[in-house]
Symmetry: D2
């Protein structure tokens, strides 16, 4: 194991640790450690809600989840010699749930969760169809995940960090705040909102205190979206073995990481669609000096995925086009096309006995593939979603004999909005 | 070889054959043949433009391509016993370029083409960045494709039909015309248009003549977009070995097929991004009676992809978010995010010596994967595009040593808009 | 389609064609055609027994199969400029069953066969356990194979030529005859024999006649074994897309090919274990001058397999060690270890209802993997055989519930030795 | 992490631990712990030579390696309710090098070794060609291995236990001793020996002492070979995610495990061909009562490999036949055919600049595939070995331009036999 540079004690809150991470993006959050190019190191990661979600059969914690607290990030780690214009090369050497702890109250201690967030508290990809809160608990047995809330499936996790990135420069941060504010201003009362403003409430900013804390907290960007610095990209293929290249915007690069997922489908469609967990990640860093210019990578990560993802060889795929559920034609809207493809998959799975929310939760957590299949054939985009048939312990393929009916059990816990 | 039910003579126009296909969707286009459930049969397919694009070093044929003539479709094939509400099960047994003809003037005779359509004649996914017409010719050697217009790459084709589907009912057709017309009415003078209206000009409607022809031509839907009946889905994973299930909307189902592709990347981003060819396809059909209700498949194809796609194990991936090139924030727009990811890939490839249009054409034709990676993290969608590194005959990965420079050669032919 | 240089008329015997192939190896068999480096060409291939095995429910044709007639080979093809010491580079562009003929009396016309050869006529890998003759007929539907003689399985063919190679030099041929004769002399009356001597009976030697025929027929090597020139290697991974490099021993290289297989498991364990068929193969040839010395390839083919084999992701594996069935310990004998692994697989499959010979035939034909797992741990070799579970239409995995029982049907036809 | 039932302190010898394992097979070695069906547990494993091999640039430790001490095994673990006739179901949940220790003197602390054993001390697959001792040290960076002794390669480890199995019954043990003794008696002075007799010297037998120790030590079987109980099968595909089924021969089954490998090629050809390491393994056990009879598994493991092995898509393959290096024909000898294929691969790699022993060591350690390609075509077996081309950082494929020459560096340390 490489040297542990950011330890977390599972019995204590994220803000009550030896080193304090952060939950906002800002260039002035001080590094927790400095590493050399060529160095490997281990980082503990807390699950994104710092323990607010429990291993139980109620979705009230999802309904009331404190979004202002996310994401609990480990770092920043400064890299010696990194300067704006460089590319930071990060190898994901290994990652997993919390080592040596396979039971306990914290996600990552042998279990994880996935949730459908209600429309009033974040929402999700299909929030119009699923406005309430739902939760599913997943148990880990080695690489495998099963859920008492979604029977009939078992799959190998495609474990990855949902969020990693470098610190923005002051200029880049200002750009974010400007453009996201401009969008929000077009419909400021929308629920869910169009974007999230800086929010000092619940901000965690490492060792900053006093006036520095207040200034940074007022400016710092929320961590929900992916942006130029990487961030919350939620790319399920960021598995161990991945090499990723980030633009460097500040001296030292200031790399942060968190939001570990035991598994996730493309799109992470239920918002908290991945199986969330705390755990560890081992990283190796290096630099390509002036790489942003050399390779034309001024923004957004590029990466070489690892070569040990779970293998599947048979898929059942659903397609969707950019027509709304009530029949309106939209112009080449792949977001909508993917929603329709996912809704088709959900409708299909209900024919086998699943409750719709079970199917929705499954699509968020299982290693489904979401593809942009057609993006130019006016007026319809075509998106497709591929389910590996091997994750079901019954035959999920269509046949003349009709679908097998499973027992959905008590189903996924639901909490209606109060 | 199964019985050839729809032969095409390569020396004659699509409208001057033993059996006449169609290039519009309408329930009243008469079947060219009737097949039994359980029957296998071969269908010849003409390339979508019926020979208007030539194996030369000029893009003027792309610039002037007659969009009113597409897609040259083979069929419809009526299936005995098929009734509205059934699912039509189609197995793609085999497909390929025109057998026994490896040279000649028709795409599919040992070669194929891909084109960037100009803004004034169809446009494409990145038409703002690439408003002019470009073309690349690809030569086939067995399963492999190479292009004199894009040096340094060679790849195994992921051969598939771009377009297959059942006939719409009269009601469904009316719905299409209504909703697409309503969209078009919001900006009727837009170039490229928001959608394409029925167009009797160049309509091919099988054996219809006289008043029937005129009526149907005036109502029939264009074949460009994918719709509820399948249609121009351009799903690159529709390879041999695929089993696909279509809703049946008219008695007999009336299956049609065409637009064969030697290869294509997810999204077919240059509009005519796939490597277009004529050829043959062997199909086997069956029915699941009342399957639409039984399986909840009221619209859009579901499918089990074949298990012999070309294998790659190393990918270079690019990510993009839903911010426009001039910095405007859009709300969870995966279409835009994928555009940005593709533009990043193009920028990157130019560092190795490619002209931007070569890179763009390559992304349309090569077996790239386009993924919906994050669709819920407000306000940014995250889309990713994966390039198989093995298709390049040089090392395309980033390194401290900087990029290899290739000789781009004379490049892809370009025709500016007159 | 590349130019057809070696056509075969399915209605006529192999010896009654426009061009006559051969069924022995000898440097003096004249080429049927000369090709240029860089040239692509098509070759028709006759199934190895030239029609002696029929699509029926009797194994008498297997029992009486005329081994002196095999293999019906297409060629030789001389390559311009090829000289001893070069490497001949052969790309397998495409191959398949007889085009345009999906029914008829000749294997390759929509069907193929696999057989267990009796001990008295060739034998097989497990001839002590299976001394009699058995046959299974396989029907082709696109890429898929099924058999009325072995229910419950369907798989995608891994189509390949069982036999390809260059002509031996006179010196190399003499070496073969010497060493194989010396082995045979150690037990000349063994059944099956230790090796096969030259046999003028049924020899086919292209256009040779008279004294030349008699001389060559008396010297020419049989085609059963693989040797330095490639030959009957029966490597199932020689699929389309493969590039193979052969040593050149005579001017012109004199490449021959035949023995096409629709599918085969590693080892081709029932002797005629592959699904035999006639068909076509498209080849492209090139030269690496002096490549034998440059690359240290003085004998035996080296190759880069194609990248479109059928994909499977779940396997059930059996292991075996080098102890005989009656308990004798052998020293690091991987041949024996693989026999024991295969016998274990057969025993296992009988628990699901298969007759032992059905299981044996299946292991010969299906795309199983045979691995040399341990070859150094004295005194036991360990070999393993991997069955893809997806080829069974029932769950073939062990479980606490015990095995599903299938109906084996009438079983594989059997002919006892007269 | 599951409960650690067998801890090892890296600073102490294997015989000086809290719990003492064993290095012989015998039914009377007492279990170190008892587990329930359904239980998961962690086991620490010591590298097979208990620290006798060092991370240095000398092969003298390989030359003098104390073979009487191997394999240091963890266990036995008794399983509640297991009775002879049952199948013991073992899931490999996870495994890896020694956690939290990435440097130190013990293999598994961030490094591992592979060695060519000299003819006088064990020998190896190609001991006639490589009679001396060689060693290579491999460094681990996450999942990746590199060696200062073999430049130009880097690969993802296919991590697995080389040895796992259940205890033999007294009768089975007697059978082993009888048959292996009978073989040894045919050539008792052979070097290397034909088999290894029981050897009380260096025997480790758990908590046994006194007369019990002496009796068991005199009878207990050596752990080198794989046998009916599983044992040293050295199957590289025993990765995490594998489910393996062992026959149960004694009450409690008495499962033992050890000999962890960071990576290995099929065959483990250099004897100590795998990259040896200490580490941990997490297991889950269950029972199929009376499974031996139900499934026909009276001996040797059957298994379902995990679905996360490293993926490669391009291979360079070499073939060999059963003719000795000096030209003698052997009858269907796949052991010999694989030797010849491996020698061909070694010859080939030397053309790129490698020393022969570097190539040999590489084939032992890298994830090569060894296949039984033809086992019935008298008189020649055909075996093939597949090298993944992606593990080389140069183009290892043949081409008209000839091979790239690498700098082999100082090479692999060699110790001649004294």
């Amino acid at each position: 194991m490489p040297e542990l540079l950011f330890p977390l004690d599972s019995s204590r809150r994220f803000t009550d640790q030896e080193k304090i991470g952060h939950n906002r993006w800002h260039p002035d959050i001080p590094p927790v450690a400095t590493v050399r190019p060529g160095q490997s190191f281990r980082v503990d990661c807390r699950e994104w809600f710092d323990g607010a979600i429990h291993n139980d059969d109620s979705a009230e914690d999802i309904r009331d989840a404190p979004l202002s607290r996310v994401h609990a990030l480990s770092g920043p780690f400064a890299v010696q010699g990194a300067e704006p214009g460089d590319l930071l090369v990060v190898d994901i050497l290994d990652l997993g749930p919390i080592p040596q702890e396979d039971s306990g109250p914290l996600a990552g201690q042998g279990w994880g969760y996935t949730g459908v967030f209600p429309t009033g508290n974040g929402g999700g990809f299909l929030t119009e169809q699923f406005p309430d809160a739902y939760k599913a608990i997943w148990d880990f047995t080695g690489q495998q995940a099963t859920s008492r809330h979604i029977p009939g499936v078992e799959f190998t996790g495609i474990t990855h960090p949902g969020l990693m990135g470098t610190a923005p420069s002051a200029g880049l941060l200002a750009t974010w705040n400007q453009r996201e504010g401009a969008l929000r201003a077009t419909d400021p009362d929308r629920v869910p909102p169009l974007s999230l403003p800086p929010d000092p409430h619940d901000a965690i900013l490492g060792t900053l205190t006093g006036a520095d804390f207040d200034r940074v907290a007022a400016e710092a960007a929320r961590t929900a979206p992916p942006r130029e610095n990487g961030g919350n990209q939620d790319i399920k293929n960021f598995t161990a073995g991945t090499r990723v290249f980030y633009p460097v915007y500040v001296p030292g690069a200031n790399l942060s990481v968190g939001d570990l997922h035991f598994s996730q489908g493309d799109g992470e469609i239920t918002f908290c669609g991945a199986i969330e967990m705390g755990g560890f990640i081992d990283l190796h860093v290096d630099l390509i000096k002036n790489g942003m210019q050399t390779y034309g990578v001024a923004e957004n990560a590029i990466f070489l995925p690892g070569n040990t993802p779970p293998q599947f060889s048979q898929w059942l795929a659903f397609s969707g086009i950019s027509v709304t559920l009530d029949g309106q034609q939209r112009y080449l809207d792949s977001q909508l096309a993917y929603q329709r493809a996912c809704l088709h998959a959900i409708d299909y799975l209900t024919r086998f006995g699943y409750q719709p929310e079970q199917a929705y939760l499954l699509l968020g957590a299982a290693p489904i593939e979401g593809r942009l299949s057609g993006v130019v054939d006016i007026p319809n985009s075509c998106a497709t979603v591929y389910l590996p048939t091997e994750i079901f312990n019954f035959d999920v393929r269509p046949s003349a004999g009709g679908p097998t009916r499973i027992d959905p059990g008590p189903g996924a816990p639901r909490a209606s909005m109060s």
